[in-house]
Symmetry: C2
Subunit: 198 residues, 2 copies
DNA sequence: CAGAACTAGACGATCAGTCAACTATTTTAC
DNA sequence: GTAAAATAGTTGACTGATCGTCTAGTTCTG
């Protein structure tokens, strides 16, 4: 069946990194190929377009990240603790990225979303899908907290959306100011929004 | 002193619109020129680069928007009401843009910030400057509310940052889902964060 | 050796940016 | 008052780099 190759995976890894450290628009196919050590011809053998590689890459990254989230949001963990741990995980992740790239990179889904959602339909749909899944983690944790009495609300979904919007906004600020310390207030902010005691 | 021209203003207007409806990366100099009815040679007569036009445009837009904000955040208005009115103003603005462009466009400062902050230093500095000014409106309103007793907090600045991050996150979601109704919960969300009674 | 997996490099289009020639308007000089 | 000079704006052809894409051909594997 012909030869085998790791080129596809290398392209995906390169794409994720370049989008995260830069932007979709600032990332050229040549650049992706160079970083992946793949010739341009091979690129279009594996992917039909730059958009398709982006969709595949984002999907791939999300699948990986979900494994982590499934552990963080395990029903075994107290519900409020799940959300706080998620935020701590964000902070840790950004710290690792900072060490690696010398920059706070924020959330690639949102940076990409802000950039392409009016321009690239296919990419936007994928990002919507992922964010729609992400918020369910918050939602179910809040519902559990509600049942348990640690959070008082009449609309768990609405509260989840607030927490979600807040976390994105904060990650974006950390990226814009290249400042990890902006993420330190994640926890206190979440507690204020969720109305839990310190 | 030679002839006069409105070309510069037309370029600024075109740039703002194109960035808002698309992105910085998806906006080409040719496109800007075409929309402004200006030849490329004239473009570089007025601006030394695409980045410089972006900086000038963003600055111009912010100067305009500030006039509105100064009214919304007038000390004459009850402090909590200022913030809620600001959010109502966001919602109204997005509604107008939707009628005009058929899309929810969100906040151009943040969309741009997410896109270029790791790539274009000059642009990033300008965006930082503007956001740094914006948050002062929230901060001073919250401080006034605190003095007046309608908001209880020990750190007005921190609370302002939460409100700010939340509003940005929500605007981004409205853009990504092209859904105005996402902005309906602005008010209730703000009340939850600020801890004011309904 | 059949056929799938992969590569090389050329494609036309478009990118940001340059430039010298040209036109229109105001200022200055007399 | 008017002509010359200085200023400001306009034009379109041009650069070299890079864009995303594609086709024809090579290399490897079953």
């Amino acid at each position: 069946m012909g030869r085998t190759s790791t080129a596809k995976d290398r392209l995906i890894a390169a794409m994720i990194e370049l989008i995260w450290t830069g932007s979709y628009g600032s990332t050229s196919v040549d650049q992706i190929c160079e970083r992946a050590g793949v010739k341009k011809g091979s690129f279009y053998h594996f992917f039909e377009s730059k958009t398709e590689l982006a969709v595949t890459s984002i999907d791939h990254g999300w699948t990986e990240h979900r494994k982590e989230l499934d552990q963080i949001f395990s029903p075994v963990v107290p519900p409020v603790e799940r959300i706080l741990n998620c935020f701590r995980n964000f902070r840790q992740e950004q710290e690792d990225l900072f060490k690696k790239h010398g920059r706070v990179l924020g959330c690639p889904i949102h940076s990409l979303g802000a950039e392409v959602s009016t321009v690239d339909e296919r990419l936007r749909d994928k990002l919507q899908e992922i964010l729609g899944q992400f918020i369910r983690y918050y939602e179910s944790a809040i519902r559990d907290a509600q049942a348990q009495g640690s959070i008082v609300t009449h609309d768990a979904m609405a509260l989840a959306r607030i927490v979600f919007a807040y976390s994105e906004g904060l990650l974006l600020h950390a990226r814009m100011w290249n400042d990890l310390s902006r993420l330190d207030e994640f926890e206190s902010g979440a507690k204020i929004i969720l109305g839990v005691k310190t």
